[in-house]
C-alpha cells in the first residue's frame, strides 16, 4: 500500500511539470500584456511609465527565463505576486477563494452521488421498463440543459419572482451580525441555487453511469449464482452487485473533478460567488498571469490529489486490489 502510494506520488511530478508547461505556453502565446490594461488610453501614462512597469513585472525577460524563474519559485511554494494593482501574493488570493469552491464542489458531489446511486440502481433493476424510460428521459433532459441557462431561469424564478432566495454572493450584507446558526443559514440560502443547479445538471451523467455499471455487473455469473442460491433480489443488488458496480463510479468521480472545477467558473461568475472559478475568470480577463497560472497549478494539484483519493477509495472497496 505504501509503495503504491509512493509510486503514485512520484508520478505526480511529471504530471505537474506537464501541466505547468501547458499553462505557461498558453499564457506566453497570448498577445498583449498586462501592462496594457493599466496604462492604456490614459494620456497621463508616458512610454517610460510602461517600460518601468514591464521591468517591474519581469515581462522584459525572454520567455524561457520567465518560465524557469517561475518554476523555481513554484518548487519553493512561492506562487508569485499578482499583477493586478493590489499586488497581493497569489497564494493568498488562491487560499482565499479555494475553500469556497471546494465547499461548493464537495457538497455538490455528495448530492450528486447521493441522488445518482439510488436512481441508477433503480433504473438498472427495472431496466427498459416504462418507469426506466421516463426516468431516462428526465435524466437526459437534465444532462442536456445548459447549466447557465438553468441558473438564469432559477434566478428569475426563485430570486425575482418568488423572492425566496438571494441570487448573488456568498453572504448577506449584515452577515457579521448573525449568530453562528444564522451565519450557517445565510450561507446555505445563498448556496442553494448554485449548488442545486449544479447538482441537477451533474446528476444525469452520474446516474446514467451507475445504471450502466450496474447493468454490466448484473449480467455477471456470480450474480446469477447468487440468485440461484435463492437470495432475495434486494440482497443480490445491495450486497453483491452494488459493491462491484460502484468501482467504476469511483473512478468516474476522480475523472470528473477537473470538469467540476471548470464548471465552477460559469456558475460562480453568474452567481457572483468569490471562488476560484470566478477568480480565474476575472484574472484571465485582467491578464493577471501569475494568478491565472497559480490557479491552474493549484487546480492541477487538487485534481491529482482527488484522483489519488479516488484510487485509494477504489482499493478500499475492491478486495482484489488489496493483495497486489
Amino acid at each position: 500500500m505504501l509503495s503504491y502510494l509512493a509510486k503514485r506520488l512520484a508520478g505526480f511530478i511529471p504530471m505537474l511539470l506537464g501541466i505547468s508547461f501547458v499553462s505557461f505556453m498558453v499564457i506566453a502565446l497570448a498577445p498583449g500584456n498586462p501592462v496594457d490594461l493599466m496604462t492604456d488610453l490614459n494620456p497621463k501614462a508616458s512610454p517610460e511609465a510602461r517600460v518601468k512597469l514591464e521591468q517591474y513585472y519581469g515581462l522584459d525577460k525572454p520567455l524561457y527565463v520567465q518560465y524557469g524563474l517561475w518554476l523555481g519559485r513554484i518548487a519553493r511554494g512561492d506562487l508569485g505576486v499578482s499583477f493586478s494593482r493590489d499586488r497581493r501574493p497569489v497564494l493568498d488570493k488562491v487560499l482565499e477563494a479555494l475553500p469556497i469552491t471546494l465547499m461548493l464542489n464537495v457538497i455538490e458531489l455528495i448530492l450528486i452521488v447521493a441522488m445518482a446511486i439510488p436512481i441508477g440502481i433503480y433504473s438498472a433493476a427495472r431496466a427498459y421498463s416504462l418507469l426506466d424510460r421516463i426516468v431516462t428521459v428526465f435524466v437526459f433532459i437534465g444532462f442536456a440543459m445548459p447549466g447557465f441557462w438553468v441558473a438564469l431561469l432559477g434566478m428569475i424564478a426563485f430570486g425575482e419572482m418568488l423572492n425566496w432566495l438571494p441570487i448573488s454572493g456568498l453572504t448577506s450584507l449584515d452577515y457579521e451580525s448573525f449568530s453562528t446558526l444564522g451565519k450557517i443559514k445565510d450561507i446555505a440560502s445563498h448556496l442553494i441555487l448554485p449548488i442545486g443547479i449544479g447538482a441537477l445538471t451533474g446528476l444525469a451523467g452520474m446516474s446514467r453511469f451507475v445504471r450502466s455499471s450496474m447493468l454490466e455487473v448484473l449480467r455477471q455469473d456470480y450474480v446469477q449464482t447468487a440468485r440461484a442460491k435463492g437470495l432475495s433480489e434486494r440482497v443480490v443488488l445491495m450486497r453483491h452487485a452494488l459493491r462491484n458496480a460502484l468501482l467504476p463510479v469511483v473512478t468516474l468521480l476522480g475523472l470528473s473533478l477537473p470538469g467540476l472545477i471548470g464548471g465552477a467558473v460559469i456558475g460562480e461568475t453568474i452567481f457572483a460567488i468569490p471562488g476560484m472559478g470566478r477568480l480565474f475568470y476575472t484574472s484571465v480577463l485582467g491578464r493577471d498571469y501569475p494568478v491565472v497560472m497559480g490557479i491552474m497549478m493549484s487546480t492541477a494539484v487538487l485534481t491529482l490529489v482527488g484522483s489519488l483519493l479516488a484510487d485509494l477509495l477504489y482499493v478500499a472497496i475492491d478486495p482484489r486490489m488489496r493483495k497486489s
Partner: protein
C-alpha cells in the same frame, strides 16, 4: 484627465463624472416636499459596483473603482463646483494666480487633520508632489505635474508652484492625487506599501474594512473639516453585472446603482418603484464616436468622412441603443456646457447627400452589385470595437446597416480589449473604430487632437494633423483668460466640424437610481453625487442600525 471609456461604461460614468445641462428628476413633486424632514445621523448606504478597486492610493489606481473608493477617503486642494464651471476651495482655502498663470500660490486650511490625529500641512502636498514625479512610482498620472518647474514650501500652510509655461489645466490638477500623509509614507516604497490596503485619509469617510471582491466599507469621519457626514456607514458591494445588481436593488440589497437605459425606461416605472426609489438623469461627461484611420487614403478624403457622417442616423441610434436617453453629438464637448460651440448645425441624416459626396470622391456603383467602387475596388472595410460593451456593439451594427444603404460594405468585428489595443489601435492597423472618450472638465484636448500625439500608444491614433488646430491647442492651454479660451475652443470645434476626423455619435445620459429614504440630494450639472457627504436619512426611515 482624459481616459478612454473601456469595457464597462455605466459604472465609470457614475464615478464622479458629472455634467452641466438641464438635469431632470423623475421623482414626483410630492416627494420633494418631505425633504423638509431634519437631518439625522445614522444609517448606511449600499452601492453596487461592477469591479473591485485595486488600490486605495489615488495616484496608483488606474481603474474607476479605485478612484471611486478613494474619493471618499481623500480630498483635494480644489474641486469643481456643482455647476462644473469654477473651482472651489477644499483643502486650499484660497490661491493666487500670477504671471498669467505661471505662478500659483496656495494657502491651505489650518484646521484639517488626518484621521490618525496628525495635522495636515503643506509638507504632505510637497511629499505627494515629489512622489508622483518620482520615476520609481508606478503611476500613470505624472504628466500634469512634470510641467511644474519649482515647488517652494513657504511655511506649514502655504506653498508656491512655478510652471515653465502657464498651464491652464494646472489649477484643477491639484486634486487629491498629491495629498498623502507624509508622516506615514515617507521613506517607504509606495508601490508595495500596505497603505494602499489600509489607508489613513482626511476625507468625509474613513476606511473601515475591505473584503476583496466582495465588500468595501467606510465610516463617517467625525473630524471632517466640512462637517461630519450624516450617513454613518458607506458600503460598496461588488456585483459584477448590472442584471444581478438590479435584482439586488429590487430586493433591498442595494441602495444605489447606475441603471442601464433599458432598466431606466422599462423596468422601473411601476408605482412600487416610484414609492421606494427615485430616478435621476443627467447628461454624462463622455461621448461615443466613430474614428477613421486618416493614413488610409480612402478616409483621408474629407468628402468620404462627411458622407459617412450624413449616412449615419444618430437619433435612431440614440433611440434604439439608449432608449432615447442621450443626445446626438456633433463635437467633442458636452452639450449644455459653456465650452460647446452651439452655433454649428448638425450633420443631418441624409443618405442622398451622402451618396452625392461619395460620388464626388469617385465612389460609384459601376458594376451594379450594390456596393460602390472606385478603380475596380469595392468600398469595403471593417469596423472594430471592443468586447464587453453592448451599446458600442449595437451602435456599430446600426452604422453598418446605414452604410450599406449608401453602398458601403462594412463588417463589424469585435475584439478583446487588450488585443484590440495592442494589435490594431497601437499598430494603426485599423480602418474604422467605434470607441468612446470620457472627458475631463477642463476643455483642453491636446492629447487627442495635437499632431505631436500620434506616436506609439498615444491618443491621436487616427493621425489627425492640422497646423491651425495645433496652434490653437497650444494657445488654449497656455492662457488663463476664460473668454480667450472660449474663442479658441470654438474655433477648434468649427475646424473639426468641417473636417470630421471623427463622426461624433452620441452623448449618453447617466441614469442613477437611489433608494427614496435618502434626502439632501440636489440635482446639478455635476449630477447628484457632488454633495454626497451631506446626504442623510430622517430618523424614522433609517434602515440599518450601526453599532459601534
Amino acid at each position: 484627465m482624459l481616459e478612454c471609456v473601456g469595457a464597462v461604461a455605466i459604472a465609470a460614468l457614475l464615478a464622479g463624472c458629472g455634467s452641466p445641462g438641464a438635469p431632470v428628476s423623475d421623482s414626483p413633486p410630492a416627494q420633494r416636499a418631505d425633504a423638509q424632514l431634519p437631518p439625522a445621523r445614522g444609517d448606511a448606504i449600499v452601492f453596487g459596483t461592477i469591479g473591485d478597486a485595486s488600490t486605495l492610493i489615488p495616484m496608483l489606481g488606474s481603474d474607476s473603482a479605485s478612484h471611486e473608493y478613494a474619493g471618499n477617503i481623500f480630498d483635494g486642494l480644489v474641486e469643481y463646483d456643482k455647476t462644473l464651471s469654477t473651482l472651489e476651495p477644499r483643502l486650499a482655502e484660497s490661491w493666487d494666480v500670477e504671471d498669467g498663470g505661471q505662478k500659483i500660490t496656495f494657502h491651505l486650511r489650518r484646521d484639517v487633520k488626518w484621521t490618525d490625529g496628525q495635522p495636515f500641512t503643506a509638507r504632505d502636498v510637497e511629499f505627494g508632489f515629489h512622489l508622483i514625479r518620482d520615476p520609481a512610482t508606478l503611476t500613470s498620472y505624472s504628466e500634469d505635474y512634470k510641467q511644474v518647474q519649482s515647488f517652494e514650501l513657504l511655511d506649514d500652510h502655504n506653498f508656491r508652484v512655478v510652471y515653465e509655461k502657464p498651464f491652464a489645466p494646472a489649477l484643477a490638477s491639484w486634486g487629491s492625487m498629491v495629498v498623502l500623509p507624509r508622516h506615514l509614507l515617507e521613506g517607504k516604497n509606495i508601490n508595495e506599501s500596505d497603505f494602499g490596503r489600509h489607508p489613513v485619509g482626511l476625507g468625509p469617510h474613513k476606511f473601515e474594512g475591505w473584503e476583496r471582491n466582495r465588500l468595501f466599507t467606510l465610516r463617517s469621519n467625525p473630524e471632517y473639516y466640512r462637517g461630519r457626514p450624516w450617513i454613518e456607514r458607506v458600503v460598496y458591494r461588488v456585483i459584477p453585472d448590472q442584471a444581478t445588481q438590479f435584482l439586488e436593488l429590487k430586493s433591498g440589497g442595494l441602495d444605489m446603482m447606475g441603471l442601464t437605459p433599458l432598466q431606466f425606461s422599462r423596468q422601473t416605472s411601476s408605482p412600487a418603484f416610484a414609492q421606494s426609489f427615485r430616478k435621476y438623469r443627467y447628461v454624462s461627461n463622455a461621448y461615443t464616436y466613430m474614428g477613421y484611420n486618416l493614413a488610409d487614403e480612402r478616409f483621408a478624403d474629407v468628402r468620404v468622412r462627411r458622407a459617412f457622417s450624413h449616412a449615419v442616423n444618430k437619433q435612431e441610434i440614440v433611440d434604439a441603443v439608449l432608449f432615447g436617453l442621450g443626445t446626438p453629438a456633433e463635437g467633442p464637448y458636452r452639450p449644455g456646457t459653456r465650452w460647446v460651440n452651439d452655433k454649428l448645425p448638425s450633420y443631418d441624416y441624409d443618405p442622398a447627400k451622402a451618396r452625392e459626396l461619395l460620388a464626388e470622391a469617385g465612389w460609384k456603383d459601376s458594376d451594379g452589385d450594390g456596393i460602390v467602387d472606385r478603380n475596380g475596388m469595392p468600398f469595403s472595410f471593417k469596423i472594430l470595437t471592443n468586447q464587453g460593451n453592448d451599446q458600442r456593439l449595437k451602435t456599430a451594427t446600426m452604422i453598418q446597416k446605414r452604410l450599406r444603404d449608401i453602398g458601403v460594405d462594412a463588417q463589424v468585428r469585435v475584439l478583446e480589449w487588450s488585443a484590440f489595443l495592442n494589435n490594431f489601435v497601437d499598430t494603426r492597423r485599423f480602418e474604422v473604430i467605434v470607441l468612446g472618450w470620457s472627458l475631463s472638465l477642463d476643455p483642453d484636448q491636446y492629447d487627442i487632437w495635437h499632431s505631436s500625439k500620434t506616436g506609439y500608444k498615444q491618443f491621436n491614433f487616427i493621425g489627425y494633423k492640422n497646423a491651425q488646430v495645433d496652434e490653437l491647442l497650444e494657445r488654449g492651454r497656455r492662457t488663463f483668460d476664460e473668454a480667450e479660451r472660449k474663442r479658441i475652443y470654438d474655433l477648434i470645434q468649427e475646424i473639426l466640424y468641417e473636417e470630421q476626423p471623427y463622426t461624433f455619435l452620441y452623448v449618453p445620459v447617466a441614469t442613477p437610481i437611489l433608494a427614496a429614504r435618502f434626502r439632501g440630494i440636489e440635482e446639478a450639472p455635476a449630477g447628484i453625487s457632488w454633495n454626497f457627504p451631506f446626504w442623510y436619512v430622517p430618523k424614522g426611515e433609517q434602515k440599518y442600525v450601526i453599532t459601534r
